[in-house]
Symmetry: C2
Subunit: 200 residues, 2 copies
């Protein structure tokens, strides 16, 4: 259906699955960027969370696009924005607990950035936002949640996965599902069809 080969500059299983489910023929190539190092560097320069997400998506895309100049290359990144700061993946149980205590009763945002390259040049970019509000869960619920879900949630910033018990931490979720999963799919599809890369 795509008029050009599409490469996802990531080995994220869920992003690949979303693109394939939408009917796009896509292959995945790892970009092998040291994300945490880049993120730390950008934060030390006071970059805002939106710019960090966009810069990380851009770096992944550019790196793969340089190796595959004939293809459309899509790179994505998601960051958790809590009051203007970016949260990292919790490295320990204590850090996971501290993140959840900070987020409890508060609203944070998930920012999902996507960048598209064609012939080695950027042609489109987008940052989608979802807003999530945690409920005021009790300390005892938090401890039992961590007993059941650590270390699995160590791979997620904010120490939760919405597709498992993590949903029970929340009062409210605003924003589309694709953005929450880390790929602003609707704006991407809209761009691809407007530009004639897929039938409109």
């Amino acid at each position: 259906m795509l008029s050009r080969p599409l490469i996802l500059a990531s080995t994220s299983a869920i992003r690949l699955q979303l693109l394939q489910a939408a009917g796009l023929a896509v292959t995945a190539h790892a970009s092998r960027i040291d994300e945490e190092a880049v993120k730390a560097g950008l934060e030390s320069e006071n970059a805002n969370p939106r710019d960090i997400a966009d810069a990380l998506a851009e770096m992944k895309t550019a790196k793969v696009a340089a190796r595959q100049p004939e293809a459309l290359v899509l790179g994505c990144d998601q960051v958790l924005d809590f009051k203007g700061s970016v949260l990292s993946k919790p490295a320990s149980l204590a850090e996971a607990r501290a993140q959840l205590l900070a987020l409890r009763g508060q609203t944070h945002a998930l920012l999902s950035a996507a960048v598209l390259y064609d012939e080695g040049q950027p042609i489109w970019r987008h940052v989608g936002q979802a807003r999530l509000t945690m409920r005021g869960f009790s300390d005892s619920y938090l401890d039992s949640y961590l007993a059941r879900n650590w270390p699995e949630v160590g791979s997620s910033v904010g120490a939760y996965k919405l597709e498992t018990e993590g949903v029970r931490l929340f009062d409210r979720i605003d924003g589309d599902y694709f953005t929450i999963l880390g790929l602003p799919l609707l704006p991407l599809l809209s761009y691809l069809s407007t530009r004639g890369f897929i039938p409109s």
Copy 2:
């Protein structure tokens, strides 16, 4: 984790999966309501889509609750509200095409109703709403979409599944994912924890 057995008055695989993913112990019992007949009856009395969704959820719940008076029973229903009318599942390819032509370039709502019974009496109810806007796709795209997706989409009102190519019909989706899948999960979890059925 639940203080009482929870029964889902439905054999919907996705609703069962959402409840189990959230960590709730739940079993499913079919309610065996003739939904299309009930829907047609309510429509002939000019019931609005919100009341139809609530009434269908209530009927399923009440029927199972009468057989299981000691349990918490949850019943759900989802209707597609297009300009105040409820759409049914398309019975033929021609009907699927007509539904998509009507929805093209327009906004419709998915209403997800849930009703909870305890000891044979209703104790909680909620109708969640998501709003979806279809893009102005071409007739030729529509025909190729149906060639690829009929008859699979015949089981869906509106002739689309968002988890497959159906997402390409849309410009915009507002509302949480759980409501779109047919279960207003966050309000349900909030009620269960407020009432002490699950730890808060």
